[in-house]
């Protein structure tokens, strides 16, 4: 590991994982801690631009934490919000963000019960950073154990929308598109699944680093891997086109309103049925399966019958041209 922190350490990719292992010595690998009958999680959010097509940092910071609680089989209940604000930030914008937090919290069925506000010197923050921590009530703990060969991998909807929508705005790529971030809490979508008797093995929201990171993280140093059928992965046409324009595969583009769910093979269709009852799950797909043969790796099977490794991203992908 290098001597200094770099942006790549925060990309959510391999470097982040290594940093967490080596410095923080954390190994849980779960999106939320399971503490008896409660789940607890935290995330700090920094995003540029603060207001983007489909949402803003406020909505994002609520959705992210709510979804992380759902991941471990909890019903999200309470949220804290802690703001770090740059001196000079417009109070109007702050009001918009707070409004958006409240709306998303209401939609997600969570209460914001405590908060904090710090102001730092102008330039020492990118507008505003928001930490949300969350508490949920465990309906049934989902810990990622008892994974079997052949378990089904489901993605709850089309992928890559958030990452590309943000990239287009942040880097001024001037792509004129209806594409919006998918940022959304998934309470309504996932809670019914948790409350059902579908045998859920593992859940994770494929945020930073996209589907590629999410799948790789799930099997990182584990005794199983994944075999994914590329042609089954739901990708919207505009995402596919932007992916080609920028030379970045959609698997590496972040999502903020999707869930990757591993369920026992016997329950895969029932799981899909439950998801499809909610509009947010209308594009849910079984995209592949757990494979003990490919332990630690994610294998992508192309529609041509060939295979390749879908590697863990190391850093954020940048648009390329040549």
């Amino acid at each position: 590991m290098s001597q200094k922190i770099t942006l790549d350490h925060g990309s959510g990719g391999k470097l982040t994982l290594e940093l967490i292992e080596e410095v923080f010595k954390s190994e849980s690998g779960l999106d939320s801690a399971i503490l008896g009958d409660i789940a607890f999680t935290t995330d700090s959010h920094s995003i540029k631009p603060l207001f983007f097509a489909g949402g803003d940092i406020g909505k994002l910071s609520v959705a992210g934490t709510v979804n992380d609680l759902l991941c471990v089989g909890a019903k999200p209940l309470y949220l804290s919000t802690a703001f770090i604000i740059e001196a000079g930030f417009e109070i109007d914008k702050l009001n918009r963000i707070v409004k958006s937090i409240k709306e998303e919290a209401e939609d997600a069925g969570v209460k914001i019960v405590c908060g904090d506000t710090k102001v730092v010197e102008n330039g020492k923050c990118d507008g505003v950073y928001i930490n949300t921590s969350g508490i949920g009530k465990i309906i049934r703990p989902i810990k990622g154990d008892n994974i079997n060969d052949g378990d089904a991998v489901i993605v709850s909807g089309s992928i890559g929308e958030h990452g590309f929508a943000i990239l287009n705005q942040r880097e001024n790529l001037n792509l004129n598109t209806e594409l919006r971030s998918d940022v959304s809490n998934l309470t309504d979508l996932i809670l019914p699944l948790i409350e059902s008797d579908v045998e859920i093995k593992f859940m994770r929201d494929p945020t930073r680093g996209g589907l590629a990171m999410c799948l790789n993280e799930l099997c990182y140093k584990r005794d199983f891997g994944f075999e994914i059928e590329e042609s089954l992965i739901p990708v919207m046409e505009d995402v596919r086109v932007i992916s080609e324009i920028l030379g970045i595969e959609p698997y590496y583009s972040a999502n903020e309103g999707k869930m990757v769910i591993v369920v026992s093979k016997k329950d895969q269709d029932r799981a899909l049925d439950i998801l499809k009852k909610n509009p947010k799950g209308s594009n849910a797909k079984i995209i592949g399966k757990v494979s003990k043969k490919t332990a630690g790796n994610v294998i992508l099977k192309t529609k041509f019958g060939s295979t390749r490794l879908l590697k863990m991203p190391v850093a954020d992908k940048m648009p390329r041209i040549c």
């Binding site: 290098s2 770099t6 942006l7 790549d8 391999k14 470097l15 880097e171 001024n172 790529l173 001037n174 920028l246 030379g247 595969e249 992508l300 192309t302 529609k303 041509f304 019958g305 060939s306 295979t307 390749r308 490794l309 879908l310 590697k311 190391v314 850093a315 992908k317 940048m318 648009p319 390329r320 041209i321 040549c322």
Partner: protein, 365 residues
Amino acid sequence: MDRIKLNIYNDPEIVKKLSNFIKKEAEKLKKTIKIMHICGTHENSIVRFGLRDLLPGNITVIAGPGCPVCVTSSRDIDAIIELALKENIKLLTFGDMLKVPGSRLSFSKAISMGADIQMIYSIFDGIEIAKNSDKPCIFFACGFETTAAPTAAALKDLEIPKNFYIYSVHKYTPNGVYALLKSGKISMDALILPGHASTISGLKTYERFTDEFGLPSVAAGFEAADILLAIALIVKQINNKEAKVENAYTRVIEYEGNKRAQQAIDEVFYLTSSIWRGLGEIENSGYELKDKYRQFDAKKQFNITYTNDYIEHQKGCKCNEIILGNLTPKDCPLFTKRCTPHDPIGPCMVSDEGTCKNWYDGGLI
């Protein structure tokens, strides 16, 4: 896509049929053949579509010096980074250039040290940025003829703000590869010619490859079927003991190339000798701005310092041999160990077009 059926080129049925055809045809080959492509985007497609899986064991496809980022010399990278750190300028460049290590720094690292460097998607976006900036904006213009053409067209046809400058590291593929063939530094049984660079240059210029070196040379597009078609045509040529230039990407490439683009390039640039990273100086392979455009030439308008101790490849890095197709990343002891896309040792680990990066990301290792 109405009349023009573009989906066909990634139709699994067609791809499988082409694969089968190649396998069949390859049975007739007398020896294992080595086909080199000279285009990073081809490598990317090959990895992404898993095409090596679809080829018979006696056909090897290797990557040649086809990544413009990989062949940009540290000498130029060092010089422009030095300028960006020293002067109050804004440096513009493509996303793939950002992490390429120079002798000491990459553009990314220079950003952390306070340099004002911005990624752009197109020279035209760069010009707009310059219009809204009160700093001199220098576009570090890398890329082969495909990218040199828009640079030329922009300078020729657009109103360029006074604070917009070009630092050209554009290179001309056919001459570069020709020189490498001539020097014997690279060898192969056939070539896949680049799809988009050839739209500009045309294919005629590659006839010297078939005439002088007897290399079957087939231009290909970037879908799975495009590349397999080119390989199929190559195998057929070899089996027929032919060596000719063929166009497997006729829907895009014209044999004579894009005349308007060529005119723009001729108007704005002249060809001169140029350093290809790790490969040394190659004559007639670099595009420099003509004197007529000197007011936009960063090399002339700024006090740029070059040093002689620039480092093209750190010790142990096999990039130059990999670019030449003589080695694969697996042959480099640093690959995935000390050298990763996060902290690349050589340029091939940077761009998604770089062979090492491509292998790292999706290669079956």
